[in-house]
């Protein structure tokens, strides 16, 4: 086995997973104040109302598709539907969701660039995140549409390479060869995906981890005792409101 393959498909996934978990715990512990969607709806609402749901709902379908394709073994689906039908449905549904996501984020980026206050509120962290996020989505589309054949023209089914490797990761016995046998489109998509996953804890993407599903179950009125408020943590290197006199935007 090629040592690069071993690193990329045998070691890196665990490093990324560790970064995700440890980074998220660290952020949750020390940066509750920074844990927000950083909504810009106050500045601009018309485009956002179309683009944001389009992007987010598209992304949900894309995520579901990933979980289905990666977790459910081909042998299981073969019992129910033929490979051709499965592929057809997955291709169409996946492409549709992918296009919605892509159009959504394109509109969001357009909005971000052209609406003055929104652009001014964009940090370098945001810009990096956008580059990686868009790259991951575009490369995913490329892999879906063109990754079905190896350069030599052989049929390539990711469910026989990528999915097997992914499931092998979950039981800590990485099947590096399965992944190495995949096409370059999938490999690049996965590497950019790694970058995105590693970025989550350190960018605004963390808001995804606090999807407020408990809202469906909690009582409407929340009483909290003054005493129940947690005391100042021993290591309180936390963020707070900006200092009085901080300018909102530096004037050029």
């Amino acid at each position: 086995m090629n040592p690069i393959d071993i690193f990329l498909w045998g070691v890196l996934p665990y490093l990324v997973a560790f970064t995700l978990v440890a980074g998220t715990i660290w952020r949750y512990k020390y940066d509750q104040f920074g844990w927000t969607t950083r909504s810009s709806q106050l500045y601009e609402s018309k485009l956002l109302r179309i683009a944001s749901p389009m992007f987010h709902y598209g992304l949900f379908v894309v995520l579901m598709g990933h979980l289905m394709g990666l977790l459910i073994p081909k042998a299981w689906t073969d019992l129910v539907v033929s490979q051709e039908t499965y592929h057809e449905v997955a291709l169409w549904a996946g492409t549709a969701a992918g296009v919605a996501t892509l159009v959504g984020i394109a509109l969001l980026i357009y909005r971000r660039r052209t609406t003055g206050p929104v652009f001014l509120a964009t940090t370098r962290n945001d810009k990096l995140m956008y580059v990686v996020l868009v790259a991951a989505i575009v490369l995913g589309m490329v892999a879906t549409l063109t990754g079905g054949h190896t350069p030599s023209g052989e049929e390539h089914n990711y469910r026989e390479t990528v999915s097997i490797w992914f499931r092998s990761l979950l039981i800590f016995q990485p099947d590096v060869e399965a992944m190495a046998a995949s096409t370059w489109q999938f490999k690049v998509h996965i590497l950019v995906g790694f970058a995105l996953i590693a970025l989550i804890p350190f960018s605004r993407l963390v808001h995804a981890f606090t999807v407020p599903l408990h809202y469906l179950f909690r009582p409407y009125v929340v009483y909290r005792s003054r005493d129940a408020v947690a005391p100042t943590p021993s290591r309180s290197r936390v963020r707070g409101w900006d200092a009085v006199g901080t300018k909102d935007r530096e004037r050029k």
């Binding site: 500045y43 206050p117 001014l120 962290n125 408990h214 707070g240 409101w241 901080t246 300018k247």
Partner: protein
């Protein structure tokens, strides 16, 4: 009798005394929202009525969808939709006010006044947007229509005027002789049944069990901004820099040490009253489900008599300290709301059970009488005018009683009777007991009410029990149990929390602590001062050092 009794800090504002000077707004802003991201935010604002309000037309719930509505089965539901619907629309709140609905905050390029080169033209300070930093045109602000300014153009868009026009067929004109106005200072209502809290997907907004103050946990807020839609008073604001919701805190660090809020403390007209009321938390929802016309009565009913032995017993059983019960008995707010029944809630029809109440102003009626050349102090004239002047009374009723003019008339008559009665006392023509009886009061009650409304001193207007005595030694730490640690203005933000330095626990308001140290037998040691003795906390008590 109530199983549970809880305390709620409440406020009453006497609108007859408000001169619209905005001192409350300015001092509040200096204290709480002078930070980046909150330039457009006024936890306390004073709006002229009739007028559009801030944000513009916030009372138009058909558009903004705030508050609660009653369902067909008699239950309550958020006007903006159920829980599931709210979660589905979380990616872009469907009815979110934009900056334009508030106003674009600005400053002026004062530097140009002193740095402009010598020339024939006088240098000017151009307005600069605080949002973009660019030159801007000022087109609106939090009180743009102050004192009926521009009312000829904007007045008809006041949601209350609109409602009177559409439903009661009252044509309101803004000609000088027919116009009336008054000021309405607004803060967060610290409701008993808050719809902002019910809208918050994260559960970050909470009501303090001890004093009922509604706060946003800055660490738990994730910026989903559903609360902004949920609040019908639009008193929750989005800090566009931190990405979190912020709201009036009822100056809780001050209340905890027994001081009134900044807006009350600095009120020039001394029109604000602060105190606690006792209420039965288990009956709040039931009261909020009452028929629209009965909501005022239902909310009154929720407030418990602090002299009732059963109420006192239940309060003690729930662990309420004695000084809180005593404060509830002395509460000026309870007296004005429930004893004299002259204070009314703002928009009870939103069903949030607001806890900042208003004594409706008699001044629109008095002004109109005076303009028409009548004696505006004579009881007969006033009573007649209250009945005859439908428009001001109807307007007040839309604000304070969900349109029931009888209640407003009743309150205004009490105020008018008090005016005429006290004129008799001052002029030496005698105490007119019949006048008091005409509005269902005794002469004694009349004079008590007069004293509370006209003379009441600082400690009668503000009856604020401190945070539990047994915790008093912890007060400095208590104030540090703030939802934003270390208090406002300690840090700059980096990409993700690179601010450093441990905040030293210190109360925002050290007034009481300082006073205690000044009057102590022995000077405080360095350890007691957290090794931070210096000019800022110097207490002049040096004997032991």
């Amino acid at each position: 009798m109530p199983k549970r009794v809880m305390a709620q800090v409440a406020m009453v504002m006497n609108l007859d005394k408000c001169i619209g000077c905005h001192t409350c707004s300015v001092t509040c802003k200096q204290a709480w929202t002078n930070r980046a991201g909150t330039e457009y935010v006024w936890f306390n604002n004073v709006e002229t009525r009739p007028g559009l309000g801030y944000p513009r037309r916030y009372e138009d719930q058909q558009k903004w969808r705030g508050g609660w509505v009653r369902t067909a089965s008699g239950g309550l539901k958020l006007r903006s939709g159920g829980r599931f619907q709210k979660l589905l629309s979380i990616f872009a709140s469907p009815v979110q006010p934009e900056l334009d609905d508030y106003y674009e905050p600005w400053t002026y390029d004062y530097q140009n006044l002193i740095s402009a080169p010598l020339g024939d033209d006088f240098p000017v300070a151009r307005p600069k947007s605080l949002i973009t930093g660019e030159d801007t045109q000022i087109t609106w602000s939090a009180n743009w229509d102050d004192s009926l300014g521009g009312v000829v153009e904007t007045g008809q868009s006041d949601p209350v005027i609109e409602k009177l026009r559409d439903e009661a067929n009252e044509q309101i004109r803004f000609e000088y002789e027919k116009s009336f106005m008054f000021f309405l200072p607004r803060i967060c209502e610290h409701c008993l049944n808050p719809s902002c809290m019910a809208s918050c997907p994260s559960g970050a907004i909470y009501k303090r069990a001890e004093d009922g103050i509604v706060l946003v946990d800055q660490d738990r807020c994730r910026g989903w901004r559903q609360c902004i839609t949920g609040c019908p008073y639009k008193k929750i604001y989005f800090n566009h820099r931190s990405g979190k919701a912020e709201k009036c805190t009822f100056c809780y660090p001050r209340l905890e040490v027994g001081l009134p809020t900044v807006c009350s403390e600095t009120c020039v007209g001394r029109l604000r009253y602060l105190g606690i009321i006792l209420y039965d938390p288990d009956r709040v929802t039931e009261a909020a489900c009452a028929d629209e016309q009965d909501l005022y009565a239902a909310q009154l009913d929720l407030m418990l008599d602090p002299h009732d032995p059963e109420v006192i017993e239940a309060a003690r059983a729930g662990g309420m300290p004695q000084d809180w019960i005593t404060a509830a008995q002395r509460s000026p707010v309870y007296a004005l709301i429930k004893h004299f029944k002259v204070a009314l809630p703002l928009h009870p029809e939103y069903r949030t059970m607001p806890m900042v109440w208003y004594i409706p102003p008699l001044s629109p009626v008095v002004d109109l009488l005076r303009k028409q050349g009548h004696d505006a102090e004579a009881a007969g004239n006033l009573f007649g005018a209250i009945d005859a002047l439908r428009i001001p009374v109807g307007y007040l009723a839309e604000l304070f009683t969900a349109g029931d003019t009888a209640i407003v008339t009743d309150v205004l008559q009490k105020l008018a009777a008090m005016r005429a009665y006290m004129r008799g006392v001052t002029l030496g023509t005698g105490r007119d007991a019949e006048l008091a009886e005409a509005v269902g009061m005794t002469p004694q009650a009349m004079e008590q009410m007069y004293r509370l409304l006209a003379i009441a001193k600082y400690d009668e207007r503000y009856v604020i029990p401190k945070a539990h005595h047994e915790e008093a030694h912890n007060l400095e730490e208590l104030a540090c149990s703030l939802d934003f640690e270390g208090g406002p203005g300690m840090y700059n933000s980096g990409p993700f929390g690179e601010a450093s330095g441990r905040p030293v626990p210190v109360a925002i308001e050290t007034y009481s602590a300082l006073k205690a140290r000044q009057q102590a037998e022995a000077a405080a040691s360095s350890a007691q001062l957290h090794n931070r003795d210096g000019l800022l906390n110097w207490d002049g008590n040096e004997d032991a050092k």
